[in-house]
Symmetry: C4
Subunit: 277 residues, 4 copies
């Protein structure tokens, strides 16, 4: 998968996930804050659950597709791990990428089970997400042996975002519903997504000249470029957050909140359930 496409694909995946999470958490935070003017109808506990189930199903679906692609695409190992004839491992790269997808798939499966049944504690979905991110970073960490300087460097920078994501998700196990942590996770996911694209452009430029992978100045530029990606991710999250907040507030103003009073007690019960953990 060492190609431009191979980096653009997961990049797009993380960009979409980042944008979607930002919208979701902004929406829920806005409705929680404006509860007194009847916003609970915008996102009741039941609709929240439905969203989570849909999200988990989609992630699960794409993880499975990703694993199948890695295995059965043109140059995939087709589930063969060891070539006994020639005594070497078959396409270890593909197997590693499939393993990464596997953990995101597991996280999605656990999340599905949590939000459809009452079997497991709620905070488990964040722990599984943390494990999935950690596993991704862990595999990348031992992925870099013997590559050229700039190649190693751009992947090392990626690790900041990945392990940052893992750490923030783990903190969310203890501080669930903290909007600061949620938006930080969204930012780091967007950063990861856009940086995958950047890696693609640096290592496999689709057009234009090749980058000199040993030039120290290129390395210094790339480091700064990472900061700009972070600034861009923060900007995008801010814009989305503000847009969602405005929409929620304007919709609440248009409709009178009085009739909602009847629904509130039940909704609150359902929501307090959520806060038990």
């Amino acid at each position: 998968m060492g190609s431009f496409k191979g980096h653009a694909l997961p990049g797009s995946f993380f960009l979409v996930a980042g944008i979607w999470w930002t919208v979701k958490h902004s929406l829920w935070y806005a409705t929680r804050r404006n509860k007194n003017i009847g916003s609970t109808r915008l996102s009741s506990r039941a609709s929240q659950r439905r969203l989570e189930v849909i999200e988990s199903s989609l992630i699960l679906f794409f993880s499975v597709v990703g694993m199948l692609l890695e295995q059965f695409a043109a140059d995939g190992p087709r589930l063969q791990l060891y070539d006994f004839a020639e005594k070497h491992w078959e396409d270890l790269m593909n197997w590693q990428h499939a393993t990464m997808y596997l953990f995101f798939g597991l996280a999605a499966m656990v999340s599905l089970i949590i939000h459809t049944t009452e079997a497991a504690p709620l905070a488990l979905d964040r722990l599984m997400l943390a494990v999935a991110f950690f596993n991704e970073g862990f595999l990348f960490l031992y992925h870099l042996h013997g590559r050229s300087m700039l190649d190693v460097h751009v992947h090392q920078l990626l690790l900041y975002a990945i392990f940052g994501d893992a750490l923030v998700s783990f903190l969310e196990v203890f501080h669930r519903g903290n909007i600061i942590l949620e938006l930080l996770r969204c930012t780091l996911t967007l950063l990861q997504g856009s940086w995958f694209w950047q890696i693609g452009y640096v290592l496999y430029p689709p057009r234009g000249p090749e980058w000199d992978l040993k030039d120290h100045n290129n390395m210094m530029f790339i480091t700064m470029c990472y900061s700009w990606h972070l600034a861009f991710a923060m900007l995008l999250v801010s814009v989305l957050y503000c847009a969602v907040s405005c929409v929620v507030r304007s919709r609440l103003k248009r409709t009178p909140p009085i009739e909602m009073g009847l629904l509130k007690p039940r909704d609150r019960d359902l929501e307090s359930e959520d806060e038990i953990l």
Copy 2:
């Protein structure tokens, strides 16, 4: 102890410990959640104590056996530390392993004292466990000087599980009874156990060809293999957790919970004691 058996033995120990802890914590969590339908009779505070005492006694027993084996087995140092005649240390490996067992033995002894008397704060057992795991990792860390690449690598991977266990146990000092942390500790202990077996198979293959300890592809495969062990550990914990939950719920349905109402006030008192720390 550099042999297949020498790795399979502690591996089995950690596997059993991991499975047992999963069952124990799942059971207690399930009974806590279903308290309103009378589950407290399944695990009252008194029976919890009895379990802890039995568990600690067993760990203490096996630690002492382990220390004695390391000292008095065929090639052990028989409590002799320094050979003054030839001026060298006697079987440092065995002494190091005995030291590891010593700390687990200390942890078990403290746990015994805590759960039979009221002398010490409850959270101390988790701290001692954290210290025991930390000490194990600490000794392994300075154990690896001058070995071949793959040998170092498989032991380094082991350190993730060991230090992870130490960290989670330390967090449990502050968040006692958090089921997420408890299951995470079980998972990491299982991972440690199965990885000890894997190390045995890689370094001392009981049959089949030797592994090339300097091949970079082997190293990449082993890294991925570690992820699979983690996935397997998570799967095992999930299955055990679900099984225990189902059994608890089905047993509660069969017996009417009404008669239990009389026991509840006393049990609650006993349990609130537990939450004081």
Copy 3:
């Protein structure tokens, strides 16, 4: 910007920021502690907001000035990033410094928005500060390739203060208003400021002989010197804290607190708002 001035300028900036923060947090803490004797009039919620807005505006202003200076000063890149004729990056140092200013500017902008509108959660200003400090340290970390030993060492010591600042700011997201953390942040900011001056004196001594950048004794002295800067920063924070405390208490004694009783209920409401996060 590799010059004495180039280090003295940010140094002065951080020194002023450190002193100002110490005064601000000491004042607020003193008024909070002496609330019962009517001190709220010294710093009501409204005046706190006004202070925050002024502070953020000043930081934003100086960040923009800093960015413009880096770009358009005598040897700046004038917004040109790549010289296509000679195929090399233009003045990467200036671009990196401008990026550092950019993040402090972003933090100030977010702080402005938070304290003038109700749009975002309060704790976001500390997160943005943490990100700004982290970004500064991150860029310095990859800044040091190929310099002489002492040059690398003095910049590495600087990283302790910078990453310390980032960590403390991040902790403040969860422990807002903890005076210990606030004073620690002030201390580390002062340390950073005075160390920038020290770096200037070591690498570009304005008068007197050059330092031998490869002498090991110089390195050992510099390490100890860093401790002294830390002691000096702690001393300065203590003196400022005591001075502010004394002034607040003496002013409260002179004016009778009785008339303030009427204002208290409203102020408390405003303040409890503050504690919602």
Copy 4:
């Protein structure tokens, strides 16, 4: 100070501090637990303060003595920092050790001020202790350049105890009065003290043969030896804790607690003050 005495002296200091802290915290914990049977008379808030003041004064005194000794002992620099004639730094080692004492002196001074006046928040004494330990570790970290392997190794092992002490003290800022953390700090301080003695015996054996500082087996033995020191420190803390607990309980049984009931309300008020932070 590179001599046997130079390591035995701070070692003894830390051993005494560790033992004293264990007794102090065990006593206070035991009285807090047995409050209902009238133990508050054993350690009222006022007597606690008096103890803290005496302890801080002693530490301050010994820090000043230590600094003076380092400066004015036989081969000290006598406050001269730079020899302008021969252009080299004067006795940097002594200056570094004096700096370490300085920070413990500062911590003691702040603790004195906190416990005699109401000027500063209580948690500050733990922060200052954390800074003092951190500073000690920080100076040791850059102290080891160019020494032989075993010399570096024994000092690195020391850093575990020092930075552990710093971390635990910092955690106590947020979890003040947590007996687990307090005993952990005592253990690490004892470990530090006994390890200083061990370093003295290894590097400057008062009698018997020299150690071979380049033998890998010596290094492995030393690592294990560190674990034994830790086990010994834990044992000592346990014994002291149990002894103090027994004494407190037996003294309480001999005197009737009834008459104490009159004092309780006032004591509780004084103590709740303590818990405000």
